[in-house]
Symmetry: C2
Subunit: 236 residues, 2 copies
DNA sequence: CTTATAAGTGTATAACTGACACTTAAGAAT
DNA sequence: ATTCTTAAGTGTCAGTTATACACTTATAAG
């Protein structure tokens, strides 16, 4: 920090600037499986290889703004949950130059149109169980994001960023099973999640996955925030 | 990322480079209280104001290496636990220029010599309950670090980075009380921490804080790592 | 009207958490 | 020598929470 910036510019970076980029690890949930958004690069270098979406931070924006902007420019997606994962700064991580990337992971609800829409951007949703080889250190970024997601899911109702406004309890359970990568007991899951008190049962049913149909619920955000302030422990 | 680096250098940063710095939030524990290491700046700007230690990342090192190097150069401290907190990137955070800082928090054992040694570097250990106004956004960095420390202390035996090799259970309890900012029950604390199974009782006593003396313990790292792999839940 | 399928529900046992009070060791004071 | 002071060390019980587990119900399909 602020030793002498003018000197720093000259002595540290002259002729070999350090560029700052943002990469986004975008997770979505299509009511059954956890998905990851990837892009097929259409230009050199790494033409035709799969990659996360990312670009450079501009001088007049902070990194969070950059992440939102880049995501919007590259996919049309906006207004979703984004959280900083951490920096990836190995000096030789990018053969094209010294680029430090601040990875962000994003969570979004996958509606029908999202599955279509991203195709216009040469993007594709992959099942997290079947992620291809990615450019640079992007596989490592994905692995760290999944680990972070697992940890955070224990203390935040992350599920609600990933589900559409109305969802069934079996859908919510599928999501948590995808995040934790383990089967959960149906009865105990329902008991716990209901006991937390921020689910609102609706009078509608979703019959897309069974004849009987499952009741739809809604997440009561006010109730949740009240509970968080009191120190909710969200253990599934 | 990697759209076209040559173009990026030109169009994004020409004449207004974005510099990358690292700031270190260094916590220590002196067997009684949680402390924070601060520096009195001896040069303009912000002469004579208190500040965290930080400097610029060099082109041939990653940010973690930079944090260790900067800490060593500024304090003589080396080989301590360091973890990335996150980026601070408000474009106007530093009036001297566009500097993005990646904050790292560090935990260290405070031995007698450390209390002396830092004086040679115009540094001073402050009680975390009494931190002065700091330059730039450093107070915010400290606040976020304390919050992170609180969260992490629940899932990692952070205490052991902050205590010297041999410690008593009452010292360990004081540390957790400082981190969580609440009193804990002596009997229950002892019960839980012992049940975790990675404390080795020694035949020595520390009589610095009572006539009776408290038994010294040692942290068994192998045992701890074995437990972590099996999925230890470190809840104090 | 039978069948197949996923949704929905309750209970009993074990494990854990949290509250709580007296005894002990040893130096200090008399 | 005896008493006093101080922090260290110890166990139990009650309440809560976690886990394991099996049958009934609603409805569309055949």
């Amino acid at each position: 920090m602020i030793k002498d910036i003018t000197k720093a510019k000259k002595s540290i970076y002259e002729g070999a600037p350090l560029l700052v980029a943002v990469d986004c690890i975008v997770f979505g949930f299509d009511k059954e499986r956890l998905k990851l958004l990837l892009f097929k690069r259409k230009v050199a270098p790494f033409m035709d290889e799969w990659s996360l979406i990312g670009s450079f931070v501009k001088v007049d924006e902070n990194v969070s703004e950059a992440a939102h902007r880049i995501l919007h420019e590259s996919t049309g997606i906006s207004g979703i949950f984004l959280s900083e994962l951490g920096s990836f700064s190995n000096p030789s991580r990018d053969p094209g130059g010294r680029v430090l990337s601040i990875a962000h992971y994003a969570l979004m609800r996958l509606e029908e149109q999202d599955l279509q829409a991203v195709a216009n951007f040469q993007a594709q949703w992959f099942d997290v169980e079947a992620i291809p080889d990615l450019v640079l250190d992007h596989n490592e970024m994905v692995a760290q994001s999944l680990a972070r997601l697992k940890v955070n899911a224990h203390s935040h109702p992350i599920g609600f960023e990933l589900l559409s406004e109305k969802f069934t309890i079996p859908q919510l359970q599928l999501l948590y099973e995808a995040i934790f990568q383990q089967k959960l007991d149906r009865r105990n899951f329902r008991k716990k999640i209901k006991a937390m008190g921020f689910l609102e049962k609706l009078d509608e049913k979703d019959k897309s996955s069974s004849k009987k149909g499952a009741y739809l619920y809604r997440f009561n955000k006010e109730e949740y925030e009240k509970l968080m302030k009191e120190g909710l422990n969200f253990v599934i």
